[in-house]
């Protein structure tokens, strides 16, 4: 028996030692990392679907400067450790540029690895400041958390939406606590009164009666929800059950509430959110994107999908600006692209963007309000 185990161990070690050969052919290989399984899978899948659409469109139109593009998605289960494994796997497969990762915590780990390798990283939706802080090789499409929190507080102040503002946030989530931190900073400068933020965790996101009761008793006129839409849908449902109807104000994580299965969409009427993307915008670009996404995947794309779609086109613009070719080394491609990123201006479905050298996009958030089941500009 022991001998068999030994033999098995040796065989296993041999299997693990699979060698790799770097493949240098004539396509740009763009890797994608995001949660394709597990609790956050909806975001990862949206990103991968939209990126694939963009890549297909580009290839159909003749590629980037005549070079075809290959997109390679990998799953990270929204886990930093798995994400690094996915990154290494993509490197083995010959990835030259990374679109990812989708979620913030894994992105911190992966961008540190990518900074080591000097590999160009563009995250569609990793919004925490640390996500792109490891090196000058990382850029993002979405707003950063601080931008969102601060912009929300400013918007509420400028439009005099409420005098007493409450918050329900997820204290175990990087995204939520990051936005709350800057919302509090913004609120400190504003004239409205901020009630004690009410926390919940990933393990307790099914019952919000205590938090809602507190906000109701203290007369909150507006409740800020820097959380993802799955928890928000429960909050809206429970608040309706206890006749508590403040103004609900969300951020980009709220996007997706109108496509959630089993949710009574009437409850989302009047919800305000800051988002860079609205699926029923009139411009041709958005309409084409929404149409082909619906065509292929049978649902309305959310903001994650929009970020990814813009991400691929941003990579295209940067490649064209820098004039890099697929036979260059990963590091040379990265050097070319990061210089090009500060020079280009991209108009996509999430607005018109330019980038600073530290990787942050410049674009302005749009406030929308949900009316009759669709986003309408709040202005």
């Amino acid at each position: 028996m022991k001998k068999m185990r030994l033999a098995a161990a040796v065989a296993f070690a041999a299997a693990m030692a699979m060698s790799v050969t770097a493949m240098a052919d004539d396509t740009f290989k763009i890797g994608g990392i995001g949660p394709l399984t597990g609790g956050a899978a909806i975001y990862g899948n949206a990103v991968m679907n939209a990126a694939q659409i963009a890549v297909d469109e580009i290839n159909e139109a003749g590629g980037i400067a005549g070079v075809q593009v290959e997109f390679m998605p990998q799953d990270d289960e929204h886990d930093a450790e798995k994400s690094v494994s996915a990154y290494n796997k993509l490197k083995d497969d010959g990835m030259q540029i990374l679109l990812g990762t989708v979620t913030s915590t894994p992105c911190v780990a992966v961008s540190a690895e990518a900074a080591n390798d000097n590999l160009f990283l563009l995250t569609p939706s990793g919004s925490s400041p640390d996500a792109i802080a490891a090196g000058d090789n990382a850029f993002r499409i979405c707003f950063s958390d601080p931008d969102q929190g601060y912009a929300s507080a400013q918007y509420i102040e400028e439009h005099q939406l409420a005098k007493k503002v409450g918050v329900i946030y997820n204290s175990s989530d990087v995204y939520s606590t990051g936005i709350l931190a800057t919302f509090q900073a913004g609120a400190a400068e504003a004239s409205f009164e901020l009630l004690d933020p009410q926390a919940f965790t990933d393990d307790s996101k099914t019952d919000f009666s205590a938090q809602l009761q507190y906000l109701k008793d203290n007369g909150a006129e507006l409740v800020f929800l820097p959380i993802y839409y799955d928890a928000a849908s429960v909050i809206l449902t429970q608040a309706a059950g206890m006749d508590f109807a403040p103004i609900w104000f969300g951020v980009d994580g709220m996007d997706g509430i109108l496509t959630m299965e089993g949710f009574n969409y009437d409850l989302a009427e009047g919800v305000m959110l800051l988002t860079p993307f609205s699926a029923d915008a009139e411009d041709e670009l958005t309409q084409n994107f929404v149409a082909s996404y619906q065509d292929k995947y049978g649902e309305i794309p959310n903001q994650f999908a929009a970020d990814a779609y813009d991400g691929i086109y941003t990579i295209k613009a940067a490649i064209e600006q820098a004039g890099v070719t697929p036979d260059m080394s990963i590091s040379d491609i990265c050097d070319g692209l990061k210089a090009a990123m500060t020079e280009i201006e991209v108009t996509g479905v999430t607005g018109t963007m330019t980038w600073t050298a530290d990787g942050e996009p410049n674009k302005s958030p749009k406030a929308v309000v949900i009316e009759n089941g669709v986003y309408v500009s709040a202005e």
Binding site: K2, K3, L6, M18, T105, A112, V174
Partner: protein
Amino acid sequence: MKKKKLRVNLLTYGIVTAAFIVMQSLAVTGSLSSLMKGLLVPICVYIVLAVSLNLVVGISGELSLGHAGFMCVGAFSGAFFSKCMQDTITSGGLRLFLAMLVGALVAAFFGLIIGIPVLRLRGDYLAIVTLAFGEIIKNVINVIYIGVDGDGFHFSMKDQFSLGMAPDGKVLINGAQGITGTPKDATFLAGFILILVTLFIVLNLIDSRDGRAIMAIRDSRIAAESIGINVTRYKLMCFTISAALAGAAGTLYAHNLATLTASKFNFNTSILVLVFVVLGGMGNILGSVIAATVLTVLPEMLRFLNNYRMLIYSIILIAMMIYNWSPQVLEWRERHFGRLLRRDRKEAE
């Protein structure tokens, strides 16, 4: 009997060392894929976790579901130490070594204070209580904010702003966002040494007088008590050593990734480590080593299956469990490969 035990122990050290030499030489010559290279340190971490949990579950016979909690404590204290000492100690190896000591000591302390009330319980009750403690550790660390500036350390359990730091201060532990930017000191060599130390501690403990006392308690508590063995003391010893080793593994884990969040150390991680132990065999240290390696590498090797990956992984896991532990399959294996096994056994004796 004693000779056989020695031989099995030597085999364990031998396999681990041989695997290390093979992998290390492959890595140095550059014939190892990036994926495998990235997995080397996590494999070491999970081996140490599995072996240390086996001490509690297999040797002392108490079901613990809070192992990730000790890993979490070790990871955070070790990473915190390294963040503070980043400029003082410049040698990565030394810093990691000291961080591991800190992580192990802090985890041992938590093991001790949790063990005192918890080990009054047995069996299922103990399992539930350790589960609860693991969750408590995770949730408490989730709300801890520690920052440092010219005036020293600031501590808060509310939010980043209540730290009241000077503008030049930096936040070291940022609540749910955890610790970012831990120096990447973890190496395969460090992981290998940690495995050897763990094996040395655990195997020697099992073969010592104390180890026999612990196993006596497992096999018959009443008989053990009747010959004057101090049940609580031995159980506590076992639990604390296990926690310390898990803490050291946690520190190694923290120094391998640029980000560390408490939410990683949830109930699922505890169960994952328990799966390693159960698959490898209760009390079988070499089994834990192999099971931890196989089950860490397997999901990564299945990446080519895309969306079916986790499904296939689960099916393979079920198949492996049945192959290794189902009485019918064991009987079938005895019938078909019996001659081979018997010869093997004779050699081993």
